[in-house]
């Protein structure tokens, strides 16, 4: 995986120049272990939902984030509580991992609860959007999470608008938008980043390059070697991260975030990863045919949990039994069991699911409500 920084005309001070430490090198042992736990939380959320879906308990399409957890976890871990994010379909764990450093069970943190997210997935009234739009199409104005639509790259203009309002108000928040490599071909991707660059707005566009836009490979979507090369056209930095390595994602995104917070404007951070399954669960069988099994095996070879575990062992943060317990990596959703995860991770998800199961369905008449603000 290329991990070099494809910086362009305006170069941020490189963090890899041998002088300054990389942001991840400043993380404490506790923080590194917390990142590891967040990977487990993200993975367990996904595999548990895959199982629930196969049991017929969920409605709609599941867009698995399996094998892409390092992007989800590493990109938001270093944000300030009031920073904004706009997750997309494959980023669902982000909703409850935002500002998780202030405590997953802290009601005042700037993130959503696992109960809210599970109620959303279960189509229940306890969902923050009362199950009006599906799966990842939720958010929270008060928690600074922009709600997405199915029109990919469609939240980048909103991200720029949020950033513009903050800038006018003298508030120094950064806005992270998430996009697949496929949606970088959208016209609105260009329009929004162009505007953000013109006005030097603190918008970081994270591109989760999982090599496949539904059934189309990246080389048919993007003509440049790296998707991050698109940044050159806007005179902004483009970074490339190893999307399997939570620390590398953290480093590149933090560099972009600090660049933005310092008033230098937007940037693009491409995280190279690989989509483990189909585009959605409806596509798993076909994806097994349109993708070369060798490519799939290679793409999944660097499981982000395994990569993180190795790093933590090297750092001496995981030793003895702790280094070899809860081996959730390199296992498909059908193979992995609850015993492969730390019990507190399973418990957290169980609590969310219990809330969802007990939450009522929305009342039918709500379908006609809230078209307009009265």
């Amino acid at each position: 995986m290329p991990t070099s920084s494809a910086q362009t005309s305006e170069k941020p001070k490189s963090s890899a120049n041998g002088v300054a430490k990389r942001p991840s090198e400043l993380l404490t042992k506790e923080q590194c272990l917390e990142l590891f736990q967040h990977l487990y939380l993200a993975r367990y959320f996904d595999v548990r939902l895959i199982k629930e879906k196969k049991r017929g308990r969920l409605r709609g399409t599941l867009y698995s984030s399996h094998n892409q957890e390092a992007v989800i976890v590493g990109s938001i871990y270093g944000l300030q509580p009031n920073d904004w994010i706009s997750p997309i379909h494959r980023d669902m764990p982000m909703f409850f991992l935002k500002d998780a450093r202030n405590g997953l069970r802290n009601p005042n943190r700037m993130g959503m609860t696992i109960e809210e997210i599970c109620a959303q997935v279960w189509c229940k009234a306890g969902s923050p959007g009362r199950a009006r739009d599906n799966w990842s199409h939720i958010g929270s104005q008060s928690k600074h999470i922009i709600h997405s639509t199915s029109m990919l790259a469609g939240t980048i203009p909103a991200a720029a608008g949020v950033a513009l309002a903050d800038k006018i108000n003298g508030v120094n928040n950064v806005v992270l938008t998430f996009n697949g490599e496929g949606s970088t071909a959208q016209g609105v991707f260009h329009e929004a980043i162009n505007f953000a660059a013109v006005r030097k707005l603190p918008v970081v566009t994270v591109v989760e390059n999982n090599m496949w836009a539904y059934g189309t490979p990246v080389e048919l979507e993007c003509p440049t070697e790296d998707v991050a090369d698109r940044a050159k056209g806007y005179g902004i930095p483009g970074f490339v991260a190893n999307g399997q390595d939570v620390f590398d994602v953290y480093d590149k995104v933090m560099e972009a975030v600090e660049w933005a917070r310092a008033g230098n404007g937007p940037s693009i951070v491409e995280c190279k990863t690989f989509r483990a399954y189909g585009h959605g669960d409806h596509d798993d069988d076909r994806a097994a045919k349109y993708r070369d099994p060798k490519e799939v095996a290679q793409g999944r070879a660097n499981d982000p949990i395994a990569v993180c575990r190795k790093r933590l062992i090297d750092l001496g943060y995981l030793t003895g039994d702790a280094a070899t317990q809860y081996v959730a990596e390199n296992k498909g959703a059908g193979e992995v069991t609850n015993e492969d995860f730390p019990p507190e991770v399973v418990e957290y998800m169980n609590e969310g699911i219990e809330f969802a199961m007990n939450s009522p369905l929305p009342e039918a008449e709500e379908g006609g409500m809230w078209v307009f603000k009265e």
Partner: protein
């Protein structure tokens, strides 16, 4: 520029009324932003925003790149973060370039968040034909947005209404698509004195422009004037006394005023300058037949643009757009049914 007040008169034209509305709302609401192409340094292609950047600053009035989707999307994001936004489409024809952001992002935001998020954004722009603007500077595409739940749609025909509806739209809290009739911008014959004090014209309230007892014209925008002219012809030449209702708001629609009028006249012609098929004139006719069928003594008729683009040369343009003659003919048909 025409925005400057003419010496010796306090009458304001449609354009000046809009400029005043924006200026007064900018002063009233410090969270109001203006976004659009050429609206700051230049003051707008037509001058609707003239002087506003000078007065309120570049942090309130933004010259945007030629990016309608970004203009709308940025407006939505700013609204999500506490701002009220006027987003100008340089011509309403260009609104199609921002269509997804309007109908999928902006229109649905309140709905999909179960009322958590309000999007106080007014997307406004010069609209309509009769000026030789040809295909891409003559459109009335309001039906697209009437057909997208979550958007209010208004179209003033007088300076008083232009100012009052703009102020109401900017205070409404919902996304509003605001159709300005560019052929009326500088039409001196409709210039009028405007109240000194602050006022609004409520969305969803029609105005009766001419009282009559024999038939009802339901219309909006530039065709208000064509209907008034047709009513005079019908009265003078045929002794037919037509009522003219200017609906002003399409969404929400003031149906009561229409049905009250039909209770008196029992005959109706709906006139607008959009294409007929799936147009808003058809929607008005459908509601009348559903809700007021008993009041009708004749089939409701529509006079609209032909189902064609708006062509350039004058004879072609006149051929496809509604005009006084076509409206008179339709009035005679329903009156004599």
């Amino acid at each position: 520029m025409a925005v400057a007040q003419q010496v010796g008169t306090v009458k304001k034209n449609y354009l000046q009324a809009l400029n005043e509305a924006l200026r007064e709302e900018m002063a009233r609401n410090e969270d109001l932003l203006l976004l659009g192409e050429d609206i700051g340094i230049l003051g707008g292609a037509f001058g609707v925003t003239e002087g506003l950047q000078e007065e309120f600053g570049g942090h309130r009035v933004y010259d945007m790149p030629i990016s309608e989707a970004a203009i709308v999307g940025v407006a939505v994001g700013a609204a999500l973060n506490g701002k009220t936004v006027m987003a100008e489409m340089q011509f309403i024809d260009f609104i199609s370039c921002g269509f997804d952001q309007i109908v999928n992002m902006m229109a649905t935001y309140h709905y999909r968040t179960a009322g958590e998020v309000n999007i106080p954004v007014v997307v406004r722009g010069p609209a309509g034909g009769y000026g030789g603007g040809a295909l891409y500077h003559s459109q009335m595409n309001e039906a697209w947005f009437c057909h997208s739940p979550g958007l209010k749609v208004v179209c003033p025909s007088t300076p008083y209404d232009a100012k009052g509806l703009m102020k109401a739209a900017l205070r409404d809290g919902n996304p509003v698509i605001f159709y300005e009739i560019k052929e009326l911008y500088r039409l001196n014959s409709i210039a009028e004195e405007l109240p000194e004090e602050d006022y609004t014209v409520p969305l969803g309230k029609a105005a009766i422009r001419r009282s009559g007892k024999d038939l009802t014209f339901v219309t909006y925008g530039n065709n208000v004037y064509h209907c008034l002219e047709a009513a005079e012809v019908l009265f003078k030449e045929h002794g037919i006394d037509a009522e003219v209702i200017d609906i002003r708001s399409l969404v929400p629609l003031d149906e009561e005023t229409i049905y009250t009028s039909l209770g008196k006249t029992n005959r109706v012609v709906v006139v607008n300058e959009a294409p007929m098929t799936c147009g808003f004139a058809g929607e008005i006719v459908a509601r009348i037949t559903n809700n007021a069928f008993d009041l009708l003594d004749a089939p409701p008729l529509r006079v609209t643009r032909l189902d064609t683009p708006v062509p350039w040369a004058k004879p072609l343009e006149s051929f496809v757009l509604p005009g006084v003659d076509k409206i008179v003919a339709a009035g005679l048909r329903v009156a004599r049914f």
